[in-house]
Symmetry: C2
Subunit: 342 residues, 2 copies
DNA sequence: ATAAATAAGTTAAACGGTTAACAACCAACT
DNA sequence: AGTTGGTTGTTAACCGTTTAACTTATTTAT
């Protein structure tokens, strides 16, 4: 492995000169002839700068660490992928690499701790949370990241105290789909959440309860179902629920995949969408464009949220010191899976 | 930022002792009492080891670089995501981090060069190719990675010379779906590829041609269509093709998304799947489980390919010097979208 | 009683770059 | 003649950790 010293020795100058030129081709501290000789030597030796030495010396790495407290495989979740796509697009454009660090730990807190331990040295961090995290764990994770003294932005995490940069998804903890169904005259509504544990679920359930209690039909705890974000589980849960609650006219699902599965379950129960039962999804992912009928859904703008988070982090890295909370509101995408009850 | 020196100074011992202990808690070169004091100091100072200094010193980083010659956003492609999910699962388990490095370059060769330039220092690499790459570019990229003298494994790349570790997807350049349709008696077949450029497309088209020429209906260049892996494009392409070729009884699509879109197009053309037209997809992705009727598809086992690639790389890192070509063959997943013509 | 082994450290060089401070030379200006 | 300024460099310290080689004191074995 060739080093700057070899190059320098080879052409008979000091390593400093080589370094200075390589970091600024326009420098006037190296003559034109010397520049040419350096270029040639770099080619001859197939020289590549040592990333670690450079980072050690300059205290910057052009690397952003992604902290995701999950033991599930990455890249298998629609929401996270959309977020990551946005993040990668922006960071790449500005020359930053993305680092995913592993953890063998089991709890959310331990995972972030371990990820940080191993990735110490990133210029900044993007802290995620998942459906598994409790607010307490989230808070601890934030403290942990704060300790690094590096800029970071949270994503997918409820609002916390003032001096943390956050991208907030307004519709994340709110059952906007249920509001839409209500507006369309539905009163017998099933809510299909992902996981039963975690902070998000609690918020969603509370919101649903508050909404339903305003109507005579009222709130029924048993009408909150859990599909684990999986197609199979959602299908079976909805099939049995439809038998138990034949009066159902609307289903609000917290993901498009669960919504698409619900539509299958409805069809296999001998009913049809939307004439018998209306369905609304969430995410406006590709799935919502491939169902029949086309799925109405809530677009959370995950990709844009990723872009914003990257922007905010980049700004902070560039010296902006104002803490920001970026609020992304969701928007309804009306397609063919919900009908108005008159 | 606290360093090993501060810690050492604080408790009045040499940095070496701290380092020795921190790297091996069971060492007998540090007394029990000193160990306790180090632990305490680490906590008090909230000390984290400097990743770069360590890597510089030990010449290893526990980082694997992902080289993807594409300017498209990552994490938006079913195939790549499945591959990455497999890779991440395995690498995380063995304590390796994953590094995605950016590039602003436009050509496939420049991208890999730039990615390598910036990520120099990874313990190993995973080299991908995309539909855009020509064989020539692929070969150059391989040469570029070879120069790093680091172990690497190619994925999604046709077989090249002997001393390159590769995971080969047997069904990647072959239209297995067409074979299945032929076996089921179909003779008027549309082939829906992704992109029109690139090595993969050429192979696929050749295979299709060879297959069709064995039958009286023969091969028709116009029946090879391009859906750009997008739902919208696939839909429109298939709609117009169905008008032009009403005799069509089977469509073979190179992705499940394009197949699901094709099913929409078929329905909107007033025909139905599979009674009028049979459809087969590829990837056995979640999409194939959410269509109606359920989509028959070719499972390429991308996730497993990712696992294998990671395994192979890890083996090589551990000292295994035997070059390997791992062959993954696809398998047919029969569901409800193809019918037998008698 | 003495040699060998063990425990508990220390020293100093090395990893490969970066950069502030210094220097030598020459030309130009006043 | 002396000052200023531009070119084209060099020197040496520093970034934070690791590790081979050395030291000293204390046990243990013969």
């Amino acid at each position: 492995m060739s080093s700057i010293k070899e190059i320098a020795k080879y052409i008979g100058i000091s390593p400093a000169s080589v370094s200075i030129y390589l970091n600024n081709k326009d420098t006037n501290r190296v003559s034109r002839e010397t520049k040419i000789r350096i270029d040639q030597a770099v080619k001859d030796f197939n020289y590549h700068k040592n990333f670690f030495a450079k980072s050690l010396s300059t205290h910057e790495s052009n690397l952003i660490g992604i902290l995701i407290p999950t033991i599930l495989p990455l890249f298998e979740n629609d929401y996270t992928n959309a977020l990551l796509a946005g993040i990668q697009t922006r960071l790449s454009y500005f020359g930053y690499g993305i680092l995913f660090f592993p953890s063998s730990a089991q709890s959310s807190i331990e995972i972030v701790k371990e990820q940080l331990e191993k990735s110490a040295g990133c210029d900044g961090y993007l802290l995620f949370s998942t459906g598994f995290c409790t607010m307490n764990q989230i808070r601890k994770n934030i403290e942990e990241v704060k300790q690094t003294k590096r800029p970071f932005v949270t994503l997918n995490i409820p609002r916390v105290d003032e001096d943390v940069n956050q991208v907030l998804l307004e519709d994340l903890d709110v059952v906007s789909g249920v509001r839409y169904l209500l507006k369309n005259g539905h009163r017998n509504i099933l809510l299909l959440l992902g996981r039963s544990k975690g902070e998000h679920s609690r918020y969603l359930k509370d919101d649903f309860k508050q909404l339903m209690e305003q109507y005579p039909a009222g709130y029924d705890d048993h009408k909150v179902l859990y599909g684990e974000y999986s197609a199979e589980k959602s299908y079976s849960v909805i099939r049995t629920a439809l038998e138990k609650y034949p009066e159902t006219t609307g289903i609000c699902c917290m993901s498009d995949i669960m919504a698409a599965s619900s539509m299958q379950a409805i069809r296999d129960s001998g009913k049809s969408v939307p004439s018998d039962i209306s369905v609304i999804g969430r995410n406006n992912s590709i799935h919502s464009k491939l169902t029949y009928p086309l799925l109405s859904t809530i677009d959370l703008h995950m990709r844009e949220a990723g872009l914003s988070a990257a922007n905010l982090l980049l700004d902070t890295l560039a010296g902006n010191t104002v803490t920001q909370k970026i609020l992304m509101s969701g928007s309804l995408v009306e397609r063919d899976s919900v009908r108005m009850i008159v």
